[in-house]
């Protein structure tokens, strides 16, 4: 059984004003087959978490680690992480001029498996997955994401998820910009991958909507670069009704506490202060 562990992850991002700290000690453990939803307001660092796990060069892990089955991936290249079994369904998939979907899928599958897939079964697998995602066959000969609508791009992400069969997938706001029908189709694709390969999912979203189709085992509230509360699916319903306001306010108070703690003791007190604030949120 595979397990993905995020341990005390601190991540900064390069900006024009210099490095900016976004993640401030994220802890998460995801077992294979589990679905974890990360919910939080805009700017809380949800997408940063997704990119950091995938290894995007713009995001720097300043401390903490990412472990897959005990193997430390924190310093691994982006492609090595993917070959180890990680997958990121992107919020904004980019266009790749000159590379057809067919060619791209085959190249990726070959890279991940270490050998080319057997042609006959592979062609059939691609076709079956495309049909299940209601993608026209003509897509296969189009360049990756070139001229795709927002919904088509998201389907193309899930198509890759189904075919590459990773151990863990991070879905970064895969639900954004989808109408109800597309949301259902995409969710069905994720659920198929879960049941076929016992996929572990880290589902990042703003809204409860997608959780009606992909049932989470755990819901984590993410504010100011940290998980501030964890619970079951009922937590998502509560968030839907009450919003993030209480968490944001508590987080601001915590930040103030950190600032004063730092002012008082400029050494290593910051992390402790943050940890001590979290339980008060649960109360």
């Amino acid at each position: 059984m595979s397990v993905l562990e995020i341990r005390d992850l601190h991540v900064s991002v390069d900006t024009e004003q210099g490095a900016k700290q976004i993640l401030r000690g994220v802890n998460l453990t995801i077992n294979q087959g589990e679905t974890h939803a990360i919910m939080g307001p805009n700017g809380s660092g949800k997408s940063t978490l997704a990119y950091a796990i995938a290894g995007h060069p713009k995001y720097h892990v300043t401390s903490g680690s990412i472990l897959l089955d005990g193997e430390d991936l924190t310093e691994a290249t982006v492609d090595a992480r993917a070959r180890a079994g990680m997958f990121l369904a992107m919020q904004y998939p980019v266009e790749i001029p000159g590379v057809t979907v067919t060619n791209f899928l085959r190249t990726a599958k070959t890279a991940i498996d270490g050998s080319a897939p057997p042609i006959r079964t592979w062609v059939k697998d691609v076709r079956t997955s495309m049909e299940a995602l209601r993608m026209d066959r003509a897509f296969a000969e189009r360049n990756v994401n070139e001229g795709f609508s927002g919904g088509e791009k998201k389907r193309n992400e899930i198509l890759q998820l189904e075919l590459l069969k990773p151990k863990f997938a991070v879905l970064d706001e895969t639900d954004s910009g989808l109408d109800v029908d597309a949301l259902k189709i995409v969710s069905e694709g994720v659920n198929r991958a879960k049941s076929n390969t016992d996929l572990g999912v880290l589902l990042i979203t703003h809204y409860n909507r997608i959780l009606r189709y992909i049932t989470p085992d755990f819901v984590h509230v993410f504010v100011a670069g940290q998980v501030v509360e964890s619970g079951g699916p009922e937590l998502a319903v509560q968030l839907e009704n009450e919003g993030y306001d209480t968490y944001v306010a508590a987080s601001a108070a915590a930040a103030a506490a950190i600032a004063s703690a730092e002012a008082a003791d400029a050494s290593s007190g910051a992390a402790d202060a943050a940890a001590s604030v979290s339980p008060t949120v649960n109360a």
Partner: protein, 393 residues
Amino acid sequence: MSNVAPPSQAEQKPHTDGGWHNVPVQTRSERFGSVDVADFVEPTGREVDWKLTPIRLIGDLISGELDGSPFDDALTVAQPVDGFALSWIDRTDVRIGSAGLPEDKASANAWSHFDQALAIDITGKQPSSEYVVSRSGLGTVARAAHTVITAAPNSRGIVVLENSGDARIAENVEIVVGEGASVTVVTVQQWNDSAAHLASHFAQVGRDATLRHIVVSLGGGVVRVNPSIHLSSPGSATEAYGLYFADAGQHLEQQVYIDHEAENSRSRVKYKGALQGEGAHSVWIGDVLIRQSADGTDSYEENRNLVLSEGTRADSIPNLEIETGNIVGAGHASSTGRFDDEQLFYLQSRGISEEEARRLVVRGFLAEIIQQIGSADVEERLTRAVEAELTVV
């Protein structure tokens, strides 16, 4: 087309009632042409056909003395192939001047200086039979050359002009395609980094004949290949393809002119290029003229550039002049796209290594042109050459 030069550009008198003599020629059909280098004024770098070319690097080729002697030592021809013949011919040979007229000073300079022309005759009937003429090691002395390719009526075949090694050369290549013929002319530039090569290709395509013309520029410091293809007979057609890969410091240019003179003529132009490295520069200018006489014309031109790194520049200028509304179609397209870090991240996030990601993108992009050549040998060699370009960063 007449071989008689119109009045010299230098002798043309400006109007006396204003500064209008500096107004550039607005229509491609009225561009000045002459075989005599003295008829052209020295380009300043502001002219429409020179403004994107580094003329300071090629002044000797534009207006200097050129060695016009035959270059047998540098010439290699694959074994005799049925349906093809090669010979040196005199300046007075009737074949010379039958396909076009120089429209820039470098072209006229080459025309003024060549001693003998290389004649390649296509008489065969096998579409897939190919004739490879290679030039290698032309040296560093500025040269002039002239080539005349003549395809007999109803002939078939592929001529490949291959270029490598050192060179400083200005040249003209005439291509006359006889009635009902269907031939392919490929010119491949894989010169050394310091080479300079200015070539004008002039083609006349006969009745119901087709010319497939393919320019592949990979190596050389300054390489400028300008094909002018005249569809002067009813039913004449051309497919003009180009592929270039500009590395750091390389200037690769092509000015393509398709002249639809006759009715029911058809043209397709597709040039694709990749650029990588500081100072890599590509220029594509595509002029299509559909004359009043060219009813039923069907024309489309496009240029696509793929930018692989910072510090490169791709100029892409499609021009379409239409003098009759009675046509089947006319269109153009141009795009210049980047292969950037986000694309690399995307491909890598699917397990593909950085090196393979670049190869995948460039190979996919350029394969479309390579596949048009129709010679398995040449296609394979060029695919390898393009991949070799990728490893030079």
